[in-house]
Amino acid sequence: MNVRHIGADFRVVVRSYLRNPVALFFSLIFPIILIGLFGLIFSAAGSGPVTVQVLNEDHNSPVSQAFLAALNNTSVVKVAVVSDASVTPSNFGSWLGANDDPVGLIVPDGFASDYENGTATNLTVYTNPSDAASSGTVLGAVQGVANGFNLRRACSGTACSPVIGYTSENVGSPVYTYIDYLIPGLIGFSILTSPMFSMVDIASSYRKDGIFRELSLTPLTRAEWLVSRISWYVLLTFVAAGIMIGAGVYLFSAHVHLTLGLLPFLVIGPFFFVSLGMLAGSVAKTPESAALIGNIITFPMMFLSGTFFTVASFPPYLQDFARVLPLYYVIDGMNQVMLFSNSGRALVDLLIVLVAGIVVFALAVRLFKWRDE
């Protein structure tokens, strides 16, 4: 494995790609289209200010009044104070759900005195998974107003640390919204599709055009060639993931953890699927059968690995089926690191993909011939 060879081939790949506007357009615009489309379909964006139901447990203290007034002044939310005496912090979530109110806010008891004394106090924001747009709006507004209050206090008091914090709770039971699941799902989708479709095609078209024959006459080895292609798709995956996370967070207020734990998946995922695409393209005798094999492998994974819908929402037999699909482990692992901060399970997912990747890579290097036997 010679790094200089890989570097030389990588430059050729990058140049070929950058000079092919159509291919570039599809690999970078496609993720945006996908996230935009699914984001819009599944999180009906409301127009006008979002009404937020407020349960004020601080008995209308001046500070809480001021806070709610400031919130109202943001013009993106409209504060409606709950007057029903039977509503308590413990049943507030289900009360919101029952009234079809997508968002709510609890101002805790002692909010004013805590604020004045500089003791940490915590607001609770309730949001609804099916209404990502309202959720994002309210969370953003609460955060903004809380920051303002914290700053004002920090400048007038002795302690300069923020006082008002907030936690986010869901209306109903699940903690994450559709768009939150959609981001790892769509990153997985692009890790699967862009290498699979193009590697299957490259495997047969390079053979037909004699490019493999050309390369076989140079000291470049098949493993080096494959590593160069993998490197390219890793780079492409980083860019696509960045675009999708950016679009998800800014357009649809997704909340995902950006941790370093995501990076291994953005490397091992393309490693697996570039190798698999090459393997599929190599075992096929004709370009037509290559495309067919590629589709047979790709299509079930495209829908059943947690790309557009979480696997947890599938009927049990489909969940079992999903567990034999390699992409399931890529997406599940990304869910674990981006949503649940569950690095233990993410590591298991990663190991599964890594081992499968090594096997497929070795098979691909072995079976893909660039000269006639």
Binding site: D9, R11, V12, S16, E214, T218, P219
Partner: protein, 310 residues
């Protein structure tokens, strides 16, 4: 002179078809060897076996003392190849292509110098998909030279090119020979073999049917020298009776085969003495083309007759 390529009993079968059918030849270092044959003769098959791109069914092949199939990696550092229909990455420029090969072969070849050598300097920054057929072949040549090869394999490098492009490829091939390289050239153009090659092997249906220098092939397989005059057919009869030579009449022309060059004078005297009207005489001898067309034609006639019988 050392031998660059040595082939004994080389056979390549595809099912029932023997694409190459037990051929022997050798190529001396520093010479241009041309494999001449019609389409489907087995030129590419042989060439790719020599390059280590295809596995042979049978026979013995040594290129620079190496077995091309098993010692491919070592061989490829020492040879340069321009395949038939050379194709490359569409969006890569000529300069970048040479730089790519330079990095793969760990040489310090200068793209500008190499491209100048193949007369492609003006296209150094043009992308492959914008090059003409001849320019693509020239880039193939430049890439084949990146590793300063001892042998260059060129498989029909001028097929489909216009006369000007062909001539400039020929100039490069002459250059290669001048720089002491061995050249293995396949072609179905006779003049190309005749102009460039030190040794020619004519191949048809996987068999070598004639081999040697162009002169040797013509002497061995060509018809005798002949005189042709514009004259009525009676002259043929007259000359046959008078001199006992083979004379044929065809469309106002009479042709006489000469056993010896000096017979020419006797024939001309006899023509003059015949009293028949005659005009514009010329002497002709077989070119490699005549020999090629006849040898390949005879073989195909034979094959047709065999097929008809069976």
């Amino acid at each position: 002179m050392p031998t660059a390529i040595e082939v004994r009993g080389l056979t390549k079968r595809y099912g029932a078809l023997a694409a190459v059918d037990g051929i022997d030849f050798s190529v001396e270092s520093g010479t241009v060897f041309s494999f001449l044959g019609p389409n489907g003769a087995g030129k590419t098959t042989t060439t790719e076996i020599l390059e280590g791109l295809r596995r042979r069914t049978d026979g013995d092949v040594r290129v620079l003392g190496l077995d091309p199939w098993n010692d491919g990696a070592a061989l490829h550092r020492r040879i340069g190849v321009i395949p038939q229909d050379f194709r490359f990455f569409e969006k890569i420029t000529a300069r970048e292509a040479v730089e790519y090969y330079r990095a793969l072969f760990h040489t310090n070849a200068d793209p500008a110098r190499l491209l100048a050598q193949v007369e492609l300097l003006d296209k150094i920054d043009a992308r492959f998909d914008t090059l003409s057929g001849g320019q693509k072949q020239k880039l193939g040549l430049a890439l084949a030279l990146t590793n300063d090869p001892e042998i260059c394999f060129l498989d029909e490098p001028t097929t489909g090119l216009d006369p000007h492009a062909r001539r400039s490829i020929w100039a490069v091939i002459r250059d290669l020979k001048r720089s002491g390289r061995t050249v293995f050239l396949t072609t179905h153009y006779l003049e190309e073999a005749e102009l460039l090659a030190d040794h020619v092997a004519i191949i048809n249906h996987g068999r070598i049917i004639a081999a040697g220098t162009p002169g040797e092939i013509i002497r061995a397989h060509g018809r005798p020298e002949r005189i042709t005059v514009e004259a009525p057919a009676e002259l043929a009869t007259y000359l046959a009776q008078r001199l006992g030579v083979a004379a044929t009449a065809d469309g106002g022309h009479v042709s006489v085969e000469l056993g010896d060059k000096r017979d020419a004078l006797k024939v001309l005297q006899a023509i003059d003495a015949s009293g028949l009207p005659w005009d514009s005489f010329e002497t002709a001898h077989d070119t490699l083309e005549d020999v090629f067309v006849r040898l390949v034609g005879q073989m195909d006639d034979g094959a047709l007759k065999q097929e008809a019988r069976s």
